[in-house]
Homo-oligomer: 341 residues x 2
């Protein structure tokens, strides 16, 4: 079969035909870099043994712009994002699928760079991409590349984590500084410079989660505060669990440069997306030793207790501000930063 001209070639409609041109793209780019036995089966599905137990499935479409940004790209993000959604059930992620929607004219060199990054993120996380699909749309009917990943995982016995399980008196923990991803994307998009480069926190959190459930099997809720930021995630959990929340502004970790960028741009860091952070709600009795365990993991070093849950029929999230006042933290309304993931 003819070789792809990765250096100078672009995506053509034929790459989505399902015929020989598609097969060349799949073999020379996807199969080559993802490189695993299940994908090599070459069927339209991947097959693997599972033990009896509880499984989870999660899916995420990725339409981020720009495709390449400080700290990552759409490839690594599409691996991290879905691994994290699987991990937020306490599950060990097993496998990923990947569906590409490519725009005619997209440079093959850029696509290879994305696939290599995806393969690297997937290998580093130990969660292989075992099946996939590629479609091509005409120039002007897409935007370079969209990637939908789906992940499946197995929940360890005895773990029962869900957004509706928080109870009044629980402790709310965030795993590290907030707002890094959104500000990295925004500054990259607008060509803004803030002295130091702010990098996305995009990372796979399943290792941190494994360490957490190992020391605190009673964790009630885990969720990654992506689109809509910390504020929206807390409101989602408050609503699902039918509790109120009281958080302390001074306790919320945020990098000085992110804070500065937010002030400059008039943005509230509570609503800025994260891609390598999690929110955890845990019974008060477990909070301190869970926090200690999180601090030992590279992705939990900045973990902090930021508040507690309480009885509240209104399910409100209220923040005690740095100035000692109280402010209702509502859901994100409208659209703050489009296409952030």
């Amino acid at each position: 079969m003819s070789k792809l001209d990765i250096k100078n070639g672009v995506i053509e409609m034929g790459h989505g035909s399902g015929g020989r041109t598609s097969a060349t793209l799949i073999e020379e780019l996807f199969v080559r870099h993802f490189d695993n036995a299940l994908l090599d089966q070459g069927n339209d599905q991947a097959s693997f043994p599972v033990p009896a137990g509880r499984m989870v499935i999660s899916t995420d479409g990725h339409v981020i712009t720009p495709l390449f940004f400080p700290g990552g790209d759409i490839g690594s993000l599409s691996v991290h994002g879905t691994i994290n959604d699987v991990a937020m059930s306490g599950a060990k992620p097993l496998y990923l699928s990947a569906s590409f929607i490519l725009e005619e004219g997209f440079p093959l060199a850029d696509l290879e760079r994305i696939v290599i990054s995806m393969a690297k993120a997937s290998k580093s996380a130990g969660v292989p991409v075992v099946t996939g699909d590629t479609k091509v749309v005409e120039r002007g009917k897409g935007d370079g590349v969209f990637i939908t990943t789906t992940g499946i995982g197995i929940v360890p016995d005895g773990i029962n984590i869900s957004g509706d399980l928080a109870k009044p008196g629980d402790v709310i923990i965030v795993s590290g500084s907030i707002g890094d991803h959104g500000i990295a994307i925004l500054s990259s998009r607008e060509g803004l410079q803030f002295g130091t480069t702010i990098e996305s926190d995009s990372a796979a959190l399943h290792g941190l989660v494994a360490d957490m459930v190992a020391v605190a099997a009673d964790i009630r809720c885990l969720r990654d505060p992506t689109r809509g930021g910390l504020a929206t995630t807390l409101n989602e959990l408050a609503r699902q669990s039918k509790v109120g929340m009281r958080i302390q502004e001074t306790a919320i970790p945020i990098k000085a440069e992110v804070k500065g960028a937010c002030e400059l741009l008039g943005l509230d860091p509570l609503y800025i997306a994260n891609e390598g952070k999690l929110v955890c709600i845990v019974p008060a009795k477990d909070a301190e030793h869970l926090l200690a365990a999180m601090h030992k993991h590279p992705l939990g070093q900045g973990a902090a207790i930021i508040g507690t849950t309480c009885e509240d029929a209104q399910k409100m999230v209220v923040m005690e501000t740095a100035f000692g006042g109280n402010r209702v933290v509502d859901w994100l309304a409208g659209e703050q930063l489009p296409r952030i993931c």
Copy 2:
């Protein structure tokens, strides 16, 4: 929360924000119509028990144009397509995930029509959509709606079906008439009239597959001849299994109106996509009773033996034509009908 104006409203960037506007769309459209307990969990992943065994995962992006066509729409297609990819391993499909990439300005009424169709196809197949994701791209950066579905399923004990298992002397069966889907799309796209309306064959094949594996546990290969058509699927299987194939043109079922349309348009029906057909390779000893079982199923009534496999180091697919000659049937080269699924 504010209600969606389904009748007059359109997709706005805020529907992809992850905030309150997103939540409204998800609740009033997706959760409402897909309507199942796992989706109602309201988490970023769905969780369910599984027995020990062999599972499969498969994913497919759907970018078909037009979105609505005779015999289906992108919603039903995205359910059938992925159920079929799961079923082609012999598996019983269990669950689907769905990721939507919506274009700003897309009418909510059209989206609801698609979601209702998807929900209907999913319920009729008994395979619920248990988790999902919604992203929005700016006007001109997408094309209405793209849907990626991922399916998982469980393979019954004792079933081992894969594209690389065909052996020389096996029998090749196709489950019914070929080319219906591609011609339906093409005529709908171009506004062509062929006397009678040609409808897509879009259908979920897992029920037919269940009946097939029940009577012929030794089935070697199953594949649905979608993009690239029957010709490409046969070539894929020949290459994977390292066999040649001999097929008879007169044995291949094709409707008179599809044949007529292909002649008129200068298209070869062997390369036209199908969305409700399968190719099966089975040991010769099982062929006749398998065919009899297929004929009893509504989706297998037109099943026919179309040829046999043979030893061939070149892995060629050769067709004995209606005129008695021989023709090499190659892979689809280039692009015949873009965005057919």
